[in-house]
């Protein structure tokens, strides 16, 4: 899990680096604003924020096409944005509005856009694993060379269906990446307590697939690991697993008082484990992009999120007839 010394300029065009930055920045600003809106009461229900983990979703999805699939978690906003879901549609969805990506009928934990290969956030921990095995089976059967990436938290890594899914993917040799994001906490319980071996990648490897640990705060390290896994999948060599080590700058949900964390922990992590400044320092130091270009993106992102929130606030709620639609295609 050492930080690689690769020259990003050698691997990525300036445009790609700016795309990566824009994605990470969009997620961060989105999540920050959603947290504020939630506290104001404009967002109903539960909301789980992805702040701190942006490099992972971004690096994963930059390896994917619209014809590839991801399955997400309850903490799914970052995955959705990185896979190309419409940000305005997402904000409206989180507010339960008719203009939401899912007509306001899914909410934060069920954002989906199948046209982008985003098979849904999932309110059931570990829920995306078997679905992604199925998506991988579908890609293999239809011969699309597509891959499916299942995002799973350290909490989800302990679910039985995740173990079954890894075994099934190995047995059927499917193009699936089990993408573990180890942010140190399953709700209010620490990984060191809840993961028996303490080694999620090691456990995945024992199912018979390549598995590696990467620094989840390092976009470049995650990108490279995912690139290897996706290539394996596309070449019909079967599934892989990656455990990205990260943290979470917020609680399990917005409003979680986080009594299980020691004082000062988040501040320290914000200083030492924030993937965005790490990315910025690196690309600026290597002169791969200009500071001006990054600042332009900051401004664009700020206004996109502002606009999205304003439009979503003004948007109508679904009509009462929507309660009864979309249960079945025909009944």
């Amino acid at each position: 899990m050492t930080r690689r010394k690769t020259q990003p300029g050698a691997l990525f065009s300036g445009e790609e680096l700016l795309h990566a930055y824009r994605t990470m920045r969009t997620i961060r600003v989105f999540e920050t604003r959603i947290g504020q809106e939630f506290e104001k009461g404009t967002i109903p229900g539960f909301t789980h924020l992805y702040s701190a983990q942006e490099a992972i979703a971004t690096a994963v999805c930059m390896n994917l096409l619209d014809t590839d699939y991801i399955g997400s978690t309850h903490r799914g906003h970052g995955h959705s944005i990185a896979k190309g879901c419409d940000v305005k549609g997402m904000v409206a969805e989180l507010m339960g509005k008719a203009t939401g990506l899912c007509k306001g009928k899914g909410g934060s934990m069920h954002v989906a856009d199948l046209s982008k290969g985003m098979l849904g956030a999932n309110g059931i921990v570990g829920g995306s694993a078997p679905l992604c095995v199925g998506a991988g089976l579908s890609a293999k059967t239809r011969g699309t060379r597509g891959v499916a990436v299942s995002f799973i938290g350290d909490g989800g890594s302990n679910e039985g269906v995740v173990f079954e899914s890894m075994n099934l993917a190995v047995v059927l040799k499917l193009p699936v990446l089990f993408m573990y994001e180890n942010n140190g906490y399953g709700e209010a319980t620490g990984v060191s307590y809840a993961v028996g071996s303490g080694d999620i990648a090691g456990r995945a490897g024992a199912f018979g697939m390549p598995a590696e640990k990467v620094d989840g705060t390092d976009f470049f390290a995650v990108y490279e690991a995912v690139q290897r896994a996706v290539a394996r999948g596309r070449e019909g060599e079967g599934p892989s697993a990656i455990e990205a080590m990260t943290t979470r700058f917020g609680g399990h949900f917005v409003g979680d008082p986080q009594l299980y964390r020691v004082k000062g922990e988040i501040e320290k992590q914000r200083r030492e484990m924030d993937c965005i400044p790490f990315f910025v320092n690196r690309v600026l130091k290597e002169k791969s992009v200009t500071r001006k270009a990054l600042q332009d993106i900051d401004a664009e992102v700020e206004s996109l999120i502002e606009e999205s929130v304003e439009e979503a606030l003004a948007a109508p709620y679904p009509g009462p007839e929507e309660l009864y639609t979309d249960v079945y295609k025909t009944y």
């Binding site: 899912c102 009928k105 046209s115 078997p130 095995v133 269906v161 079954e164 075994n167 009944y331």
Partner: protein
């Protein structure tokens, strides 16, 4: 017209649909059998031999043996269905619902709704229900009420080979998840089945017997027993109508209510337990919507509120019998206010 058993109909219908549509796949435990063994390939063809020979025609890429991992492969069937395939997932015994229920009620049943109507999940879970094979409490249950209760699922329970073909074709071509439940005592039952294609719509009851004095609503293996009772009582001048709704979700309420409007008396026969069941549900519907027509209390004939026993003596008591049904019919006929 050829005579075919339910087993043959399942085999031929799955085969024909796989020939017609390359996106139809079959997956489950031992749907071929023999993988990773040094003996014969296609050793099982499904736990009850429904699919024998299909792996020879379609190969292991489309007849997919899975490990014994119901949660993973039922979930995978859902994931495959939302991404372009039309899987048929064989779940050997519906009792195993317990280990894959999350995939069914939290995942596949809700995709269309949660995703604002933008997702199809065309898959069939084909499984077996019912007691009578002396296989004890964990292989004998009739758990269709548990899935009937869930919005987003369709539940089909054919009782003869003719209906099985028409309903299975509808199920495979349907864009919603369908739970297709056969009774394990019935799949050797044969009747005339046309070779040509025909689809039977869901939510349309059949009337194995028409009558005017009493309505019996029966499901699955109970239909034959209800018919036997109807035929027996007809000789005594009691005219019994037998309705087989064929699907519990959607349910053909109209057929049941119309019949009760005419007869004023209803007996509901189902092998599931009575509490929170399809039988109790129909009783409630009739009480609420045909109250004025009722001339006798509604009677349900179901399994008792016990696990299915192993001992044949006890199991025979557990399964609703023709005598139980006959007693119930006589009771509603004799009832006077």
């Amino acid at each position: 017209m050829p005579n075919k058993t339910i087993r043959e109909v399942i085999h031929d219908t799955v085969r024909d649909e796989m020939r017609r549509d390359p996106n139809v796949i079959l997956m489950g435990e031992d749907v071929a059998g023999g993988a990773g063994c040094s003996g014969e390939d296609d050793a099982f063809g499904g736990a009850f031999g429904f699919y024998k020979g299909l792996v020879g025609e379609f190969g292991r890429g489309r007849i997919i043996d899975t490990p014994i991992s119901e949660a993973a492969y039922i979930g995978a069937a859902a994931g495959a269905a939302m991404t372009g395939l039309r899987p048929i997932a064989d779940l050997q015994f519906f009792d195993f619902l317990g280990v894959c229920f999350d995939q069914i009620y939290n995942q596949m049943a809700k995709f269309r709704y949660m995703f604002g109507g933008k997702s199809d999940t065309p898959l069939v879970i084909l499984s077996l229900v019912g007691a009578g094979l002396r296989c004890g409490a964990q292989h004998s249950q009739s758990l269709h009420p548990q899935v009937t209760a869930i919005p987003g699922l369709k539940v089909v329970m054919p009782e003869n080979a003719y209906d099985t073909k028409g309903l299975l074709l509808t199920a495979i071509r349907d864009d919603d998840p369908v739970i297709f439940l056969l009774h394990k005592l019935q799949f050797e039952n044969a009747c005339e089945v046309p070779d040509e294609e025909y689809l039977i719509p869901f939510g349309e009851a059949s009337f194995p017997r028409e009558g005017t004095d009493v309505t019996i609503v029966a499901f699955s293996a109970m239909v034959q027993k209800a018919v036997a009772v109807a035929d027996r009582l007809r000789e005594e001048g009691i005219s019994v109508e037998v309705i087989d709704p064929r699907t519990t979700s959607p349910l053909d309420e109209e057929a049941i209510l119309e019949s009760v409007e005419m007869t004023g008396r209803i007996v509901i026969v189902d092998e599931a337990w009575e509490r929170c069941s399809v039988a109790a549900d129909i009783a409630s519907i009739v009480a609420r919507k045909a109250f004025a027509a009722l001339q006798a209390p509604i009677i349900t004939v179901t399994a008792p509120h016990t696990p299915a026993p192993f001992s044949p003596v006890l199991e025979d008591l557990y399964i609703p019998s023709e005598d139980d049904i006959e007693r119930a019919v006589r009771e509603v006929v004799a009832y006077r206010r």
